[in-house]
Every structure is written in structure tokens, then in C-alpha cells.
């Protein structure tokens, strides 16, 4: 992920959090890595939630294959207080919206659709940049000594 797109994706998450009256918004890679977040995430174990959500989406994808369906693009979990709306964005990332009685499934769905389109465009941009080889440079700077230092007891 490039710093500029990372910043733009974070701002899409923040806007979605506001427009959907959500408790929190998370964007997660399909492999379970958290990418961006907005809202009340302080008390949430984002790392665990990301990993489990990615597992959930992967399992649902497995079910869709068995049923010869295309990916199921969204899921909804209804809780007593908190509800979870999960959407696959451009087949690349998972957008999770946590919300409560301050919002509604209809509103969340509506706002997610727009945010997902914006994110899909940003992913496209990232893919183009990556293909053009204008990658971030931190990895190039790492030396053998840096790696060894990490493992010194």
C-alpha cells in the first residue's frame, strides 16, 4: 500500500463512519491484515477481529464455490446491541461496519455501496502504481544487519 492511497482509504473509512452513523469501520485485507480503521475502535481487539473476519469471508467464499455461486459479496450479523455488516470490496479487501441502534441496516448498506466504489477505484490506482514499479522504498533500505539485529537475543 502506498502512503497516499493509505491516507485516502483512511479518509473514506472516516467518512463512512460518519455518514452511516456507525460505531466503527474497519478495512481488512483478504489475508486478515488490518488496513485502515475509523470510529470507536479503542476497546476492540482489531487484530483478532480482522483475522476472524477474513476467515469468515474465506469460509463463505468456499461455500459459494460449492454452490457454484459467485462470491457472496456481503454478510450481516445481527447482535443484541452491535450488528456487523461485512462487504467484499473489488474482491480484494473486506469492509466491516459495526453499528448499533443509532443507525440501521438500510443506511449502512446505502453508505457502504458508495464507499466501496471509492475504495475499488483506489485499489485500482494502487495496482497500477505497483505494476509500474513505483513501490515504497522501506524494503529496499533493509540490510542483512537490520534483520540479524531483530533476532539477537
Amino acid at each position: 500500500m502506498f502512503p497516499e492511497e493509505q491516507r485516502q482509504i483512511s479518509s473514506v473509512c472516516q467518512r463512512l463512519h460518519r455518514d452511516a452513523n456507525a460505531k466503527a469501520v474497519l478495512l481488512i485485507g483478504r489475508d486478515g491484515q488490518p488496513i485502515a480503521e475509523a470510529g470507536e475502535v479503542g476497546e476492540i481487539d482489531v487484530t483478532s477481529l480482522s483475522s476472524l473476519t477474513a476467515g469468515n469471508v474465506a469460509a463463505t467464499g468456499g461455500i459459494s464455490k460449492i454452490l457454484r455461486e459467485k462470491d457472496f459479496t456481503s454478510q450481516f450479523h445481527e447482535g443484541e446491541k452491535t450488528h456487523v455488516h461485512i462487504t467484499l470490496v473489488a474482491g480484494r479487501a473486506i469492509l466491516v461496519v459495526l453499528f448499533d441502534e443509532r443507525s440501521s441496516l438500510g443506511l449502512v448498506r446505502l453508505r457502504v455501496r458508495k464507499a466501496a466504489e471509492e475504495m475499488a477505484r483506489l485499489f485500482e490506482q494502487v495496482a497500477k502504481k505497483a505494476a509500474a514499479g513505483t513501490g515504497p522504498s522501506i524494503l529496499n533500505e533493509i540490510t542483512d544487519a537490520d534483520i540479524d539485529k531483530l533476532f539477537n537475543d
Binding site: 500500500m1 502506498f2 502512503p3 493509505q6 491516507r7 483512511s10 485485507g29 483478504r30 489475508d31 486478515g32 491484515q33 488490518p34 488496513i35 481487539d45 487484530t47 483478532s48 483475522s51 476472524l52 477474513a54 476467515g55 474465506a58 469460509a59 467464499g61 468456499g62 513501490g135 515504497p136 522501506i138 524494503l139 529496499n140 533500505e141 533493509i142 542483512d144 537490520d146 534483520i147 540479524d148 539485529k149 531483530l150 533476532f151
Partner: protein, 197 residues
């Protein structure tokens, strides 16, 4: 796939522990969890059956320190080893950066090791990976048991490409951190190589 977050200055990588059922994959993670300081680890999640066999995966997030001001975070996963959970195993390999194969050294598990290794290779192909191009470490576990095959026999059976290998007793922790360090180092080295550095 590794993910670099420039705003939070983090490098995130995904490691998967693979191998036959009851070989000690979960035990590896449990030992790492028990011996890591609280600030370096997240919560360990085990999605297991009532009899504590891994149903979907175990998950352990670990921080290994900083490189050039970037925190390095490794997400450790195990797969369910039992043969009939193959669909779940494939899913967990999505986005993998490095693989540890935990072999069961007992002679009667030799066939299970070979079968699981073939299954790993095949499932990686289905996800678009080539095992020979991924950071890959083999651990020969349960070396303390009386009925074990020799390391030479195990090597001949499942390590024809001579990837780094370690002997272990995961229940007491022997070889566990050596294996983890080796795979983490291999993943970081590969990341740098892949970026042209």
C-alpha cells in the same frame, strides 16, 4: 501477502504452520504464546472442536521488534491437520508469506507426513504459489519419543529440496523459537529481495 502500513509504520507478515494431524502445530503456537512477553503478543485464538482438535485455525499475532523505525508484526496461523479439513486448509494459505511444516517424527506417521507435504504443495498451487519459491522451514517434532525415524530418513522423505530444518520437542519448547526465528528471517529476506533491495 505482507502489508506495509506507512501511517502506523508497520510491516505485517503471515506465517502458516502446516503438517499432519496431531503433529504439534498448535503446541508450537501455545509454547510461543506462553514464553512471549505480554507487550509483544496479542490474543491467541483457537477455533477448535470440543476435543481440542483444530477446527479452522489457531491464530497468534506477534511483534518481533523494529526495523528502520517500522514495527514488524507476524501473524502466525496453524491449519487443521486432519485430512478431511482440506477446504479449510486452502483458505488459510491465502496471502501466506512463509510456511513452517511441522513433521511428526514417529515412524508410524511417516506416511502422514508425506501425504501432508504433497497436500501443502498442491494447495499452494491452487492459491497461485510455488512451495519452492516461498520461504519454507521444516521442523521434525517429537524427537523425544522412543519410536522416531532418524533425521536422515525424514530428510530423505520430505525434504528433497534441502530447505532449513530443525529438530524439536514442542511440548518442552526445544526448537520452537529456532524454527520461528528462521522462518521470520527468511520471510523478511524474501520481502527485501522481492522489492529489488
Amino acid at each position: 501477502m505482507s502489508f506495509i502500513n506507512y501511517s502506523s509504520r508497520e510491516i505485517n507478515c503471515k506465517l502458516v504452520y502446516y503438517g499432519p494431524g496431531l503433529g504439534g502445530k498448535t503446541t508450537n503456537l501455545q509454547f510461543i504464546y506462553a514464553k512471549t512477553s505480554p507487550e509483544a503478543k496479542g490474543k491467541m485464538i483457537s477455533l477448535a472442536t470440543e476435543t481440542e482438535r483444530t477446527l479452522f485455525f489457531d491464530f497468534l499475532p506477534l511483534s518481533l521488534g523494529e526495523i528502520r523505525g517500522f514495527k514488524t508484526r507476524f501473524h502466525l496461523y496453524t491449519v487443521p491437520g486432519q485430512v478431511f479439513y482440506d477446504a479449510s486448509r486452502k483458505l488459510i494459505l491465502k496471502g501466506v508469506d512463509g510456511v513452517v511444516f511441522v513433521a511428526d517424527s514417529q515412524i508410524e506417521r511417516m506416511e502422514a507426513n508425506i501425504e501432508s507435504m504433497e497436500n501443502l504443495r498442491q494447495n499452494l498451487i491452487e492459491q497461485g504459489y510455488d512451495l519452492d519459491k516461498l520461504p519454507f522451514i521444516i521442523q521434525y517434532n517429537k524427537r523425544d519419543l522412543p519410536n522416531v525415524a532418524s533425521v536422515a530418513e525424514l530428510h530423505a522423505a520430505i525434504n528433497p529440496t534441502n530447505v532449513p530444518e530443525f529438530e524439536a520437542r514442542a511440548t518442552t519448547g526445544v526448537g520452537v523459537f529456532e524454527t520461528l526465528k528462521a522462518i521470520a528471517k527468511a520471510v523478511l529476506t524474501e520481502l527485501r529481495r522481492g522489492s529489488g533491495g
